[in-house]
Every structure is written in C-alpha cells, then in structure tokens.
C-alpha cells in the first residue's frame, strides 16, 4: 500500500537487500502512513530536513532529555539521540498488534501466578519443571503470595521486530524493570516542537495518556481501595542510568521519587520519611532489581534495598510493581515456550508469533546451534541491554569457539535464533537518508485493567548494518507515529 501521490522524496533510497522498509515500499514510493512526511521532504527539500535535525538536537539539550552512561567520570549525562525521521505505523495494524501484546501479558501473568502457587503448567508437562525451578529468576520466597488481581508483571516492555515480510514478531519480553517509556513521551514532545505543521496536518495518534494510565494501574493495586493511595517510585538514585526516566515519570504522575533511605518498614507497614513525619505507603513502583529489593530476603549486601519490604509485600500491606519474582517469565528460555503458555492458559492462538528459537538445553537443538554458530544469534538467557550476545555472521572464529565452550558448559543459559533481516527505516546519516535497522518497544500495563501504549519506543541501530539498538551501545531512537488510517 503506497501513497497515491507520486513523490520523489525517496528516489535513490539505498534499500538494504532482503529487509522490509517501514516507510518506503519496494517501488521507491512512500507507504501510505509515511505520505505526510514524504510530502514534507518533497516540498521543503533535504536541506530543511537537516535544519530540523539541528533544531531537534537543540530542543533536546534545552529540554535536558538525557541518559546516563556509567564510568564517564563527572560528565555523566548524554544527550538523548533522536532521529528527525519518524517511524510510521498504520492504526489498523497497531490495533491488532496491541491486542496480541495484551494477550501475551495476560497469559504471562497467569503463568507466573501459577508458578508461585499450584504449578499446574509444570504438572501438565507444558514445559520442563527444571527449566523454571532452576532459573535464578524463580524466587522461592514468593511462593504462596497472592498479589492483587493475580497480576505480577504490571508493566511489560515487549521488544518487537519485523521480519523480511514486514510481519511483527516478539523478540523478547521485559518483565523486570523495563525502561524507555519516558523517551517515547519526550520524543513526541520534541517532535511536536520541531514539526508543528506535520502534527497539524496529519492524523498522528497522541501518546501522552501513558503517565495517567500508569498511575491508574498503580492506584488499582492499593491495599486501601477507595482512599487516595500513596504511591512512590523507588529509584536506585541519581547515578542510575535510567534516573532521567525515574524522575520524569514521578513528576508526570505527581508521585514521590524515593530512594531506599526515604523508606522504613515498621510492623510490616512501609513508611515514607516526609517533612511532616511518616506517611504510609500503599504502592511502590520500583525501579530496583528483585535481588536488591530487600537485604533480609535477597542479597544481604544490597545497599539499595529496604529491610522488611518483602514481608510487607507478602502480607499485602504494600503493593510492589512489578512484583518480586515476576522476572521468572523474563527469561529467554521461558520465552521459547510463551506461544504454548498462551494456548494453555487462554485457549487462544498467539496473535503475535515468536522469533523461531533454539534451546541449547535441548540436545537436538544444541547440536544444530553448535553446527551453525556462524548463522545464528546466540543470547544468554538472563542478560539485558544487549550484553553477551554473539551475532554469528559478524563473529570471528575465536568468538564462536568461546561461545561453543560456554554453551557446552552451561547449555541452560543459552538460546539461539536465526539472524533476522530486521526491518529498516530511512534515517538521517551524514546528511543523507539511509536505511537503518530498528525495533519497537511498546509498554503494556496490567492491574485491574489492561492497557497498551500507542506505539512505543522505536530504537534504531545508527551504525550502518548494525543490529544493536541499545542506547548504551550506539543506538538511537525515532518517534513512533501511529497514523490513523481509519478516518
């Protein structure tokens, strides 16, 4: 489906062979949702696009949109990289995608709740029990705890990619402390300042109700329904790489931004230290990893935790989002079973498929993986941020040998996937529009109700040919425009 008006905006666009381009059809014409941006380029030319990128960069500095890198001494904040070219998706497609995402989160929550109670899914042999029980993300102290609505993972950041046919696939589920939503919101604020005419002319669906939806979801978890809940965001502090997001979300929701030293536990109640003395806390939106939450239960050397917090949660005195232990479903080995998990709990076919995945714990799969390391992407089961990944076609023999040894030593810890022809989108690189690979991280909420963000955070690998989109490793971002094609 391409735009009816013939444009020259993408003429000579150097497609990446074998990849689906988000904005440009194989004919070189813009796809329908990209018509407005294509017309803009036709009308004003490349030079104007460059000028807007400059304005955009200035806007980002002025707004102080940044992310924090470790080990750079005093100068810890980096300007957030945002490409001037948006990524466009038609609303009709997005409706189906978001239905698939909420379906997935519902099933994952039923799964987690089952694991910490009856473990029917293991008894029924849907997946091998040792996969779950040996996972370091299965937290035994959580067994028997019943959080409100049976929901454990309240906020999920699911990474989607498109294959060569343009079909969305789930690459991974982030159920621990997914980050990036503040950049989705700030990208939009920046783009509205930079392209006011495009927002006036086209039908871009707004994204800005997310903070309110997040607040509503958190409030629904309060152990004192009916009363105004006291909700706090628990951050590891100002030197954390996601501190910008923590402070941004706390401000957008009008809740307190607390560090562990601002909280105390007494008689299984959690209290905030305020200027007016103690205040009882009902809901904690924690951005601290499970194992650091409570030194009396998990890592005793944690300096980020609050002693007694776990017990207060287990007794239902305070809600914690995401609940401790929800990371058990955020494991690249469990991921391979999610389509079966959806069918088992919901009796439905998954609306969005997984990327085909080989489990190194399975003897047959392992044999295939070891024989085809140069073709596959191998990932450790429990890392995030793009660390520890082997991209077969771009690896050296030494790297492959090291990976083979690591797999043989600990097969449970690795999965492998075919090297995907990730979709591309035109990205401004040294003054030219060039295809760059990208993914999409929507944010899905579940409390009393379900909600899926409008689009999500599009992350783009800025280096030519690169598939690594993480901002800590040279990735950038794009504003994601869900274009209303139903009017």
């Amino acid at each position: 489906m391409t735009a009816p008006i013939h444009t020259s905006s993408f003429s000579g666009y150097p497609f990446t062979e074998g990849c689906y381009d988000e904005l440009v059809a194989a004919t070189g014409q813009p796809r329908l949702p990209a018509a407005a941006i294509a017309r803009f380029i036709d009308k004003h030319g490349r030079a104007e696009l460059l000028a807007r990128q400059q304005l955009l960069n200035q806007t980002i500095s002025a707004m102080g949109v940044c992310f924090t890198l470790y080990s750079e001494g005093q100068n810890i904040d980096r300007g957030w990289p945002l490409d001037v070219m948006p990524r466009t998706i038609p609303l009709s497609e997005w409706r189906k995608t978001s239905a698939g995402l909420t379906q997935r989160l519902q099933a994952l929550n039923l799964f987690i709740d089952d694991l910490y109670h009856e473990q029917k899914v293991l008894k029924d042999g849907i997946l091998p029990a040792d996969l779950v029980l040996d996972s370091r993300n299965f937290l035994a102290p959580c067994r028997g705890v019943s959080p409100p609505f049976g929901v454990w993972a309240h906020i999920c950041g699911t990474d989607l990619v498109r294959d060569e046919t343009g079909r969305f696939l789930v690459l991974e589920d982030n159920l621990r402390v997914p980050s990036g939503v503040s950049y989705m919101l700030e990208n939009r604020t920046v783009m509205k300042r930079v392209f006011p005419e495009l927002f006036a002319d086209s039908t871009i669906v707004p994204v800005d109700d997310y903070p309110h939806q997040l607040w509503k979801m958190l409030a629904s978890l309060s152990p004192r329904p009916g009363d105004v809940p006291c909700i706090v965001l628990l951050t590891p502090g100002i030197y954390n790489s996601a501190y910008f997001e923590h402070s941004f979300l706390a401000q957008q929701m009008g809740i307190e931004l607390a560090e562990n030293t601002d909280l105390t536990v007494e008689d299984d109640g959690v209290y905030l230290r305020t200027l007016h003395g103690r205040q009882k806390v009902d809901v904690i939106y924690r951005r601290v990893d499970d194992i650091f939450l409570d030194p009396t239960v998990f890592r005793s050397d944690s300096v980020l935790g609050v002693p007694g917090l776990f017990k207060a949660w287990a007794k239902g005195q305070v809600a914690i989002a995401n609940a401790p232990g929800s990371g058990v479903a955020d494991d690249k080995v469990i991921y391979a079973y999610v389509p079966k998990i959806i069918e088992y709990y919901l009796g439905e076919k998954p609306l969005i498929d997984n990327v085909p995945t080989f489990l190194c714990s399975d003897e047959k799969d392992r044999g295939y993986v070891l024989a085809n390391l140069d073709q596959l992407v191998v990932k450790p089961a429990n890392e995030s941020g793009g660390y520890g990944i082997l991209i077969g076609p771009r690896s050296t023999q030494v790297e492959r040998d090291e990976m083979a040894a690591a797999i043989i030593a600990n097969p449970r810890n690795f999965i492998a996937q075919p090297t995907l022809a990730l979709s591309t989108a035109p990205t401004l690189c040294d003054g030219e529009l060039e295809p760059r690979h990208l993914d999409l991280r929507p944010f899905i909420l579940q409390g009393q109700d379900l909600y899926c963000s409008t689009g999500g955070l599009s992350r783009v690998a800025l280096r030519k040919g690169s598939l690594v989109v993480n901002s800590s490793q040279g990735g950038g971002s794009k504003d994601t425009w869900i274009i209303n094609d139903e009017v």
């Binding site: 102080g64 100002i238 809740i255 931004l257 601002d262 230290r273």
Partner: protein
C-alpha cells in the same frame, strides 16, 4: 514532600541566588576598579575575601604558576587569576561553574518538584555557562557574560514564580534565596565597609561611600531612600534596615519569615528570624561606635548561620525526628 528534598530545594534557592550575586559582584567591582574611582582602596583580591576565600593563598598559587617572575603578580595577572577563581577554576568552590554544577545536582535530585518550564530554564542556564564560562574572556566580554548570567538567573526565578505550585517546596526555595542574599549582603558589608573602619570606641563616621551599592543593584533606590528619610541615615542603615529594598537584610528576613510560616518547623525558624530582626531594631545604627558596628555584623553573620541550621534541622537528625513524630 520527602524529608530529604528539604535540603535540596533549599540549596537550589541558595545556589541560584549565589550565582546571580556572584555575577553582580564581579561586574560592579570590575567597574569600580577599572574606573580607578577615588574611593577605591581595594584591589582585585577583595573579591576573594568577600566570598570567604584566602586571597593570599590563592594568588600565591597563581604567582607560582606564572613563568619567570616568582611570587609577584602584575595587576593584570592578578585580575586574571581572581576572575579565573571566581568564574571557572576547577578547584574553586566559589566559581560560577562550580555553583552551576551544584545547582544542577540539586535540581536533578528533586526534578519531580520542579515544573518543566523551570527545568528547561535551569538547563539552558547550565548549558550557557558550560559553553561560555569555561575559557578566560576579555573585560568587555566578561561584562556581557556576567550580565547574561544574572539575567538568566532572574528568568529561572520568573518562570518558577509563574508556574510552581505554592507548596512547601516553593517556600523552601524562597527561603534559600533570601538566606543566601542576606548572607551575601553581610559579606559585602563585612569586607568592603568594615575593613575601612578600625574598631574604636568612638562613634562611627557616616558612611558616605555608595559605590558598593552598585554591587547590590541599589544605587537609585538608595537616593530615593536618603531623600525620604527624616533621620540622618547612610548606606549602612540602608543595607541593614530598609525593608523596602529587596537586598537589605531586613527585607530578606521578612521574606524568610513569611515563607517559613507554613512549615512544620516554623517555630524554630521564626525564632531565629526574630532574633536577627531585634538585633537590627534595637540599635540606633548612627549612634554605634565602630567597634559596636563590627560586633553587630558579627552577630548578624552568626545569626544567619543559626537560621540556616534551624531550616535544615529536620534533615540533620532524620531518625530522631521520625521517632518524635511517631510518639506524637
């Protein structure tokens, strides 16, 4: 509001005011010194003294760094060294750049309390300073630069005034600004006025020298003040007691008192404010001996320190304060 935030929002106000005051001080004094004004008995090092720094040590280090002439700085080099220390020296705890980092740090910590517009102004201020204050500049550029620093500080205050919730955070920010301002006015008086007056038992002379009022942006309003007072007054009366002048000690105390009323620990803050106010009210300043004037300024400085401590008292002993609240 979090107990921890009390300290950060208070310091945010103090540092913002300090940035503004430092920029004003640099400009006013520069004008004074390059004019070779007849009243001038100072050199550049006086600026370091006002900010509580050991000028001999700092200039000694600077002299050692200058090639050739060991131990002696020319006037031009002294000016350079003092300005570097006040604007961008990495090891200076009073430089504009240092103050800006401290401002940014505090703002970052309490970001959720700060309206977006103000956050953007603070950010723009910091970017501007990082870009423009990191290198030495000529006198003429310096004047423009310091005026711009002051102007941008005022923009932050203006944006905040127009957008921030009237909350305890707002009150503490304003308390911080006015404590800092009172502190700076006292420092200027201490160094630039008192150093001219040896402590004696005799009645102090009238202080006719008004040039330092430049540093406080108060020359015109001083003329207005003098023209409308029945009593025989001078710049000392004006800076200490004239509550209509927004940089006088009396004004700053009124503002601190008014902003403190809604705070849970207002009683101990107001106590300090009253003590300072009565120091000013119970003395006919014109009748003081120079020694008494010295002692009065000492008392005011000590009072400002106690005031600062009273404001931050709840944060200093968080556990004790919590226990007290619990039993109440």
């Amino acid at each position: 509001m979090l107990l921890k935030s009390v300290e950060h929002i208070f310091w945010l106000g103090r540092y913002l005011e300090r940035l503004d005051d430092t920029a004003r001080l640099i400009n006013a004094t520069s004008h004074l010194l390059i004019d070779s004004h007849q009243d001038t008995q100072f050199g550049w090092p006086i600026l370091l003294e006002v900010l509580g720094q050991d000028s001999k040590a700092i200039l000694g280090t600077a002299a050692a760094a200058v090639d050739g002439e060991q131990g002696k700085l020319s006037v031009a080099d002294t000016e350079k060294a003092v300005m570097a220390y006040l604007i961008n020296a990495a090891d200076s705890p009073v430089s504009i750049l240092y103050t800006s980092s401290a401002l940014k740090y505090n703002a970052r910590t309490i970001r959720p309390l700060i309206p977006r517009d103000m956050w953007e102004e603070l950010n723009a201020l910091d970017l501007f300073l990082q870009q423009n204050c990191s290198m030495a500049v000529s006198r003429q550029q310096r004047y423009q630069l310091m005026s711009e620093v002051s102007r941008r500080c005022q923009m932050v205050v203006g944006v905040l005034d127009g957008t921030m919730l009237r909350s305890e955070a707002f009150d503490l920010f304003n308390i911080g600004r006015h404590v800092e301002r009172a502190d700076m006015t006292t420092r200027i008086m201490d160094v630039m006025v008192l150093q001219q007056l040896q402590p004696t038992q005799i009645k102090r002379p009238k202080f006719r020298w008004t040039s330092i009022l430049n540093a406080l942006g108060g020359v015109e309003s001083y003329q207005h003040y003098v023209a409308h007072q029945a009593a025989d007054v001078d710049a000392i009366d004006y800076l200490l007691t004239y509550a209509d002048f927004p940089r006088s000690i009396a004004y700053c105390l009124n503002r601190v008192g008014a902003s403190a009323r809604g705070l849970p620990h207002s009683v101990s803050i107001l106590q300090q404010v009253y003590q300072l106010q009565s120091l000013l009210q119970h003395q006919a300043l014109a009748e003081l001996s120079t020694e008494q004037l010295h002692s009065l300024i000492d008392h005011i400085q000590a009072g400002i320190i106690s005031l600062h401590q009273a404001i931050l008292a709840p944060c200093q002993a968080p556990l004790a304060a919590q226990t007290q609240q619990k039993s109440a």
